[in-house]
């Protein structure tokens, strides 16, 4: 193949979404063929999570293909071209797999999985991949808290006794007066870490009320944090559950979030991932 021809093919692949959209209009069956790899990746993930057995792989793939063929007219009508088609069809494939799983009403695999929880600290290379995957998912969950994220991270650091830095406070409350900030940071670093959670949150109260412009009790901030920890755990474990994260494994993911040792890319308080003009 000539360099020019290769460049043209690469150019088309650089615009994979445009190709998807054109196929959706003109040759939807070819579009399903084009996404066989996506289907296989997703089915494989569900098998890894214990929702299907490895021997069911081809059957589940063909089930998804059959359902996609059936749903093509609906997909054409409903896809409004705002997301990448690849992500959109992944969502449909995911729902087909979840529906198939639900229709079988088989919790055998899930029960087996829960009886044998994954050990995030294992050196097994497969587990290593699972950990890396969970790190990515955890980061994605944290981002969904949007402008609550700086508050959430300070509170999580407090719960997990991870050192809080001035920039953490400033990311939450940019106008935080220096004396308030120092008072809290000194109190928490000088033996404050050994205090029970309730008292640590009492130390945080002036900062929390100043940042949120409220008059909440220390307990209410602690409950707010506990509530979010439970949400994060439910999201990490999935529904139906495919992981078995606990508050302890969440602590490992959180430590990695601030000082990555499982994956690269460090969280920098106050720095968004993009040009947030809000």
């Amino acid at each position: 193949m000539s360099g020019a021809a290769r460049r043209y093919i690469l150019h088309m692949e650089d615009h994979a979404n445009d190709v998807d959209i054109a196929l959706l209009k003109d040759d939807p069956s070819a579009l399903i063929l084009r996404h066989q790899v996506t289907i296989r990746i997703i089915v494989k993930r569900f098998i890894e999570s214990g929702m299907f057995q490895a021997s069911e792989f081809d059957d589940v793939v063909q089930h998804v293909n059959a359902r996609l063929l059936e749903k093509l007219p609906r997909i054409r009508a409903q896809y409004n071209g705002l997301s990448l088609f690849r992500t959109y069809i992944s969502s449909i494939i995911r729902h087909e797999c979840l529906d198939l799983h639900a229709s079988r009403e088989s919790d055998i695999h899930t029960e087996r999985l829960l009886a044998d929880p994954p050990n995030p600290e294992s050196a097994n290379p497969d587990n290593r991949l699972l950990i890396e995957h969970d790190v990515k998912v955890f980061r994605a969950i944290i981002r969904q808290f949007h402008d609550e994220m700086p508050k959430l991270l300070v509170c999580l650091k407090l719960v997990y006794r991870i050192p809080i830095e001035p920039k953490d406070i400033l990311a939450w409350w940019p106008g935080c007066p220096e004396p308030d900030r120092s008072a809290f940071l000194n109190a928490i670093s000088e033996g404050g870490k050994s205090l029970p959670a309730r008292e640590r949150f009492a130390l945080l109260r002036p900062i929390a009320n100043g940042a949120d412009n409220s008059h909440s009790s220390a307990d209410s901030v602690r409950h707010w944090t506990d509530d979010r920890i439970h949400v994060i755990l439910r999201l990490l474990n999935g529904s139906p559950p495919t992981s078995s994260h606990t508050p302890e494994t969440l602590g490992i993911l959180l430590e990695d979030f601030f000082t990555p040792f499982l994956l690269h890319r460090q969280y920098i308080p106050g720095e968004t991932d993009n040009n947030d003009t809000a």
Binding site: R45, D59, N65, A66, S83, L84, Y88, I141, A278
Partner: protein
């Protein structure tokens, strides 16, 4: 944060549409969450149902590379989100036309006189003195072509056994095959459809014209997408259910 284009992202019940959740996942994959509509960010922040939807989808795509997707239909669209717009199609058409043009060019190039290269005499190239007295491949070519024609023809020869099996299976009324028709020309992407009184799962076996199993698919549906490429030739396919042979058909693979 974009606030102006949040229509289409919410269902009547207030949660994100499939597109809305997919857009959020795109934003996470592409590190562009700050460009999401404000209404979407605010809703997901407080809605566990939508967080679960976004996280579940992201989890499946977490390890996938989102490098060559091209301009994003929402984040890179200014000022309005688009449907399947003509400019997109024109651009694709232009790429396809250009690719065809290059293909035609490549096809025709060898038939043109060779272009002289620096340091080489164009006369010498055209007279090709170094090939004089050398054995050439010319005489062998017809033999090879004939061989490949024979091989090709062999791949299209009917199998008497499978033809018999096919005719007897057609007499069975328990299974009705809608596609492909007997002897239909098909290619990768062909759809097999049937209705049968047999209980799923079904096994669909593709055989070549020498009764050798080429592919076996298992499905619980009554539709199957032929997702693999196969050499051109005559193939037979068997549908099995509940351990019984339900149907035998034949297809011509292009």
């Amino acid at each position: 944060m974009k606030n102006e284009h949040s229509e289409g992202f919410f269902r009547p019940d207030g949660h994100l549409t499939e597109d809305g959740a997919a857009l959020y996942v795109d934003a996470l994959k592409l590190d562009r969450t700050g460009e999401l509509p404000g209404t979407v960010l605010e809703h997901v922040k407080t809605c566990e149902t939508c967080k679960a939807e976004v996280t579940g989808l992201f989890s499946l795509l977490a390890d996938e590379v989102y490098a060559a997707t091209g301009p994003h239909p929402f984040f890179d669209a200014n000022p309005h989100p688009r449907r399947v717009t003509p400019p997109v199609l024109y651009r694709i058409a232009a790429v396809i036309v250009a690719a065809i043009g290059i293909g035609v060019l490549l096809y025709t190039l060898p038939h043109r006189p060779e272009v002289s290269q620096p340091g080489k005499s164009s006369v010498a190239t055209r007279s090709a003195p170094d090939t004089v007295g050398q054995p050439t491949e010319q005489p062998a070519a017809p033999t090879k072509a004939a061989e490949s024609r024979e091989l090709m023809a062999a791949r299209f020869t009917e199998s008497p056994e499978l033809e018999d099996l096919m005719k007897s299976s057609l007499r069975s009324a328990a299974t009705d095959v809608q596609s492909p028709a007997i002897g239909a020309r098909v290619s990768r992407g062909a759809v097999f459809r049937w209705t049968s009184s047999a209980t799923p799962p079904y096994e669909l076996v593709v055989l070549d014209n020498r009764d050798r199993v080429i592919r076996t698919y298992t499905t619980s549906a009554d539709t199957l997408l032929l997702s693999d490429s196969m050499q051109a030739g005559l193939y037979y396919w068997k549908l099995l259910g509940e351990g019984n042979l339900l149907y035998v058909g034949k297809i011509l693979m292009r």
